[in-house]
């Protein structure tokens, strides 16, 4: 079960090597994204996550807000 985290935990996990993934569309990612995040919109994540991400490391996903 995925664990919900806050921004302080995001920073700590990223410092420890977690992969940060924005799942919003590419144009929104291009405008603003968290430092070091890669972009994998939901549809691309479906087919490309296994190829792009390292299953041996933590992954943090985020979008715009909780809505």
């Amino acid at each position: 079960m995925p664990t919900e985290i806050d921004r302080n935990q995001v920073r700590k996990l990223v410092e420890r090597g977690a992969q940060l993934v924005e799942v919003l569309p590419a144009d929104e990612y291009e405008e603003d994204h968290l430092p070091g995040a890669i972009n994998l919109p939901l549809r691309r994540l479906e087919t490309e996550a296994v190829r792009i991400l390292d299953r041996g490391r933590a992954v943090i996903v985020y979008c715009w807000d909780a809505a």
Binding site: E4, I5, R7, V10, E22, H33, A37, L40, L45
Partner: protein, 160 residues
């Protein structure tokens, strides 16, 4: 959207998956750095003045005003020990009876704005609502700085 992504990753064999549910909005509202094309444009948090004088509720207006004006300020933000904004004194409030406490003299609960708001939006809003200054705070109410309308307008002019 991120909960679905998190669950999908887990179903694909990712063992340690986290969901930052509050997302990019929360990050930016906290005034934290981002990357991307928008970072080339100034935002409220960038232009706000970080050296704005602050005071506590119990302090006397006369003393606070003297310090603020000696430093060239015509505004004081009232905060608690956590830097959470409780009130604002602009020139009108600073001119009140010097024996009043900050709590008695301040404008309580001023409108605050988040650091990531584009400076052109802020300039337009402040001009329309005749705000000479506005506190910029994180999403949990902590003071980032005070944005002066003249600084916002100047920043827009430099951009154009």
């Amino acid at each position: 959207m991120s909960p679905r992504a998190a669950w999908r990753l887990e179903s694909q064999g990712f063992g340690e998956v986290y969901d930052y549910v509050a997302g990019k909005l929360d990050w930016m509202a906290a005034g934290l750095r981002t990357e991307g094309t928008n970072t080339a444009h100034p935002r409220a948090g960038d232009v706000s003045r970080k050296d704005v004088p602050t005071a506590r509720l119990v302090e006397r207006l006369g003393e606070v005003r003297a310090h603020a004006r000696a430093a060239g300020w015509d505004a004081v933000v009232v905060t608690n020990n956590e830097r959470v904004v409780l009130g604002l004194l602009r020139s009108k409030e600073l001119d009140k009876n010097p024996d009043l406490t900050m709590e008695q003299a301040m404008r309580p609960g001023p409108s605050t704005f988040r650091p990531h708001v584009a400076i052109n939006e802020m300039a337009e809003y402040m001009a329309k609502h005749m705000l000479e200054s506005s506190p910029i705070t994180t999403s949990d109410g902590r003071l980032v700085g005070l944005l002066l309308q003249k600084d916002a307008i100047q920043s827009v002019g430099e951009k154009e």
